[in-house]
């Protein structure tokens, strides 16, 4: 316990994602009505920028699912100022990377560059974000690539399992619309629809910008004012996904001849902004440790087993295992869940868990992009960016009673997905959780 006292104090005093060598706190301010979080880092030359667009699946329908993903993917394939080739040449020459992701609660564009080419990198980033030209030929090229990628999801058992379990848990919910779309929806989205969607979604009220790196506030402010600051103030208001309603236990089995069975069970969980989140994170970590010990180490029933907790507005927890004997294995897993719910934890277990949590917390903070991701996540879904720094304290304050309470409240009523041999699945067992 001693080893982290100083570290934790640093975290709490700065209320941000500080590192021991860089005791500069992040700050939040508005530029032209756009919320901006800046954490100056002078220890390296890397600059990480994340632009968030609020909304996610809640803003989509089954008919236009994937449109935001499609739009962002096409954004780097030609802009008002740069042809695709000119754009890519500049990216290569400056060592800049620009990527995007469309998620259930928000989409994001990320810029990773270096201080020496900061102005050029920002220029490329804002061109892609604000002035994509959506060349017709590029739209068709990307459409084909996206459709192919969606069709290939079943090829990888783990990707397919997550897809199936999510589909089952979120049936009837806003998240039932996959932000990546479907082959059918991507197939009919037109170039004009992409351009219209861009106009709708890029409004100042929908955006959040997070920057971690050697950048001054004055410089960043000026850059944002002259680019994103010129966007319309409102329009296309983002809707936030509601929490999951009561979930009925179920199991979905996809038959496939594999040497093992892939199993995932998802259950409703509180979002990162909820007071129960820290306790459930602790409970999940301890359960995962116990599953490794009881299922893999003691009984040798698997190579891979674990429990997880996601970071969504309509959040979910998860159980996961690959096993040749699914029923036998699941019984051991469920026994461990019940043990967590019924038996008070020794204080020593909680203390050990805090130590591991802190190690992993710092591992996630090693890169500027990692810090930007965490700041953005807490700002959007965790009740505010400052809660990232406070989260360590929240984990420390979790008691054995808290763990029992949240394990009992949330670790139940799972929707299972299985890929493997249906004959080996006892539906009653799977739906008993």
């Amino acid at each position: 316990m001693k080893r982290f006292v100083i570290v934790a104090a640093a975290v709490l005093s700065s209320a941000a994602t500080v590192s021991s060598a860089q005791q500069v706190a992040a700050s939040k301010f508005q530029v032209s009505g756009i919320p901006v979080i800046l954490k100056p880092v002078t220890a390296n030359d890397v600059i990480a920028v994340r632009l968030y667009i609020r909304g996610g699946s809640s803003n989509l329908s089954q008919s236009n699912a994937g449109i935001e993903s499609f739009m962002l993917e096409t954004a780097t394939h030609g802009t008002a100022k740069y042809s695709k080739d000119a754009f890519n040449e500049r990216l290569t020459e400056t060592g800049t990377s620009i990527s995007s992701d469309a998620g259930y609660d928000y989409s994001s564009m990320a810029l990773q560059g270096v201080r020496q080419h900061w102005n050029e990198a920002w220029d490329l980033f804002t061109e892609a974000a604000l002035k994509p030209s959506f060349p017709a030929s590029e739209v068709e090229l990307i459409r084909a690539q996206l459709v192919d990628a969606l069709k290939r999801i079943p090829d990888d058992p783990d990707s397919y399992l997550a897809y199936l379990a999510d589909s089952s848990l979120y049936a009837g919910h806003k998240y039932a619309v996959n932000p990546q779309g479907t082959p059918a929806s991507i197939g009919v989205i037109t170039r004009d629809a992409l351009a219209d969607w861009h106009k709708q979604r890029f409004t100042r009220e929908n955006l959040l910008i997070v920057v971690v790196g050697n950048v001054s506030r004055a410089d960043l402010t000026q850059k944002i004012e002259s680019t994103f600051g010129r966007l319309p103030a409102t329009g296309g208001t983002a809707v936030r996904a509601p929490r999951l309603a009561a979930v009925t236990p179920d199991v979905m089995v996809v038959k496939r001849e594999l040497p093992t069975n892939y199993i995932a069970g998802y259950f409703a969980a509180p979002p990162p902004s909820d007071p129960d989140y820290a306790a459930l994170r602790v409970a999940t970590d301890i359960l995962s440790d116990r599953l490794f010990e009881e299922v893999r180490t003691k009984r040798n029933l698997t190579y891979s087993v674990g429990a997880g907790l996601s970071t969504r507005a309509a959040n979910r927890g998860s159980l996961y295992v690959t096993a040749v004997e699914p029923d036998t294995t699941l019984k051991v897993i469920l026994t461990q869940v019940r043990r967590l719910q019924r038996e008070p934890l020794p204080q020593s277990t909680l203390s050990e868990n805090v130590n591991t949590f802190l190690t992993e917390f710092w591992m996630g903070q090693q890169s500027n992009m990692g810090q930007a991701q965490q700041l953005g996540l807490f700002e959007l879904l965790g009740g505010g960016w400052q809660n990232l720094g406070r989260f360590v304290g929240a984990v420390r304050r979790v008691t054995p009673a808290d763990v029992q309470r949240v394990a009992t409240r949330y670790m139940q009523h799972a929707r299972f997905a299985v890929i493997g041999d249906p004959a080996k699945i006892d539906r009653q067992l799977f739906t008993s959780f």
């Binding site: 982290f4 060592g95 903070q365």
Partner: protein
Amino acid sequence: MINIGERRMRFRFILTASVLCAASSQAQSDLPVHNRQLPNGLDVIVIENHAVPIVTVELDVKNGGFTETPDYNGLSHLYEHMFFKANKTIPSQEKYLERIRQLGANWNGTTSEERVNYYVTVGVDSLIPAMQFMEDAIRFPLFNQDELVRERPVVLGEFDRNEASPFFHLARAVDTILWTPGYYSHKNVIGDRQIIITATQQKMNTIKNRYYVPNNSALILSGDITPSRGFALAEQVFGDWSRGSDPFTTPAANPPPLTRSSAVIVEKPVNGAFLSMVWQGPSVTADPAATYAADVLSTVLGNPTSRFYKRLIDSGLTFNSGINYYTLSHVGPITVFSQLAPEKILEARRVILEELAKLTDTTYITARELAAAQRQLGINALYEREQSTGWAHTVGFWWAVAGLDYYRNYVPNMQRVTRQDIARYARTYIVGKPFVTGVLISPEDRAKLALTPEQVLAAGGTR
């Protein structure tokens, strides 16, 4: 954990190789990577990065597939699993896990062709106990028979997961031909089920005594630590580990050269198709200059502005394509891969071979493309160095496969690569050389196309 199974896992290494290469030639002198050898032969490497208050303690051993004859195939990997079990200080794996939790450690191990590594990441105040913990594990494993028997199904569970991936089957089919059946065990890291099932304590001890000696190992301390403290602690904790015999007085064998091109079709229930073309590439120890050229070439062709990229991807012929060289001491593979529609397999193979043939022309890559790729690689190194945890793994890989000097000089050497060097690399290892083509396709699509290995071979030729 194993670092093979799917070809793309290799790409990770390639990427790492490229990323590592980086920065300006001047920048190498300021690499915060310090090393010293203890009297017992243990290489100690300290990577200083005070950004966050954690340290990674990593042990790297020159072991893995390349040391495995068929009767030991898969046992480097099983040994890696046994590392995390009972030793003279910790009586069982349950106690081992308890100790891990007490240390607040994030931990794992990996096995690949030419390196096995083990690592724990801890808060700075747990550094010394973490080092002692690792020392007990590497020097004094017990290989309890009951733990050995119990671990077999766990390793087989990992095997099962590999076999559940269609890409594993494609890689295995191609590799068996590329390296020849007689040599395949040296490249087949996951190993042979039967050998794993029948593994004995005696075999574990044979591996330990032969390879797990300080003069075949490296200790890496990466993170919030100074070199002076790191070297002092290394001496204190590992200084009395006795030197062993050099396991490589007789060098490990290289694979026999591939004598003719061939094609293999793997049927699995996949959507779309996957085309893989693999050559025997350079050995980093024998032809390091070719490895620098290989990495630069892979980067140039991977950029969307390259002719290769435009002809393969922008044309719509494939959804994704690329070329990679996986750096190894005992012949690394050069792989060209494509994700594509089944009906485009033959055309894609033809076009790929046409483009590769142009690599012997020194004007195929422009001077601007070359310079941009070299600059890009230099900047990528800055991103890699942000994360001391991952950097430890990368440095450990290079230490085992190519030596630390190779790593230290990588950037200046990579930046000296010319278009003539690339043409020489292509002439020596790719153009006109035999290779193996692998196709992954569903039975239905194959039947529809009536696709045969002969047709595949005929599309573009065999050299």
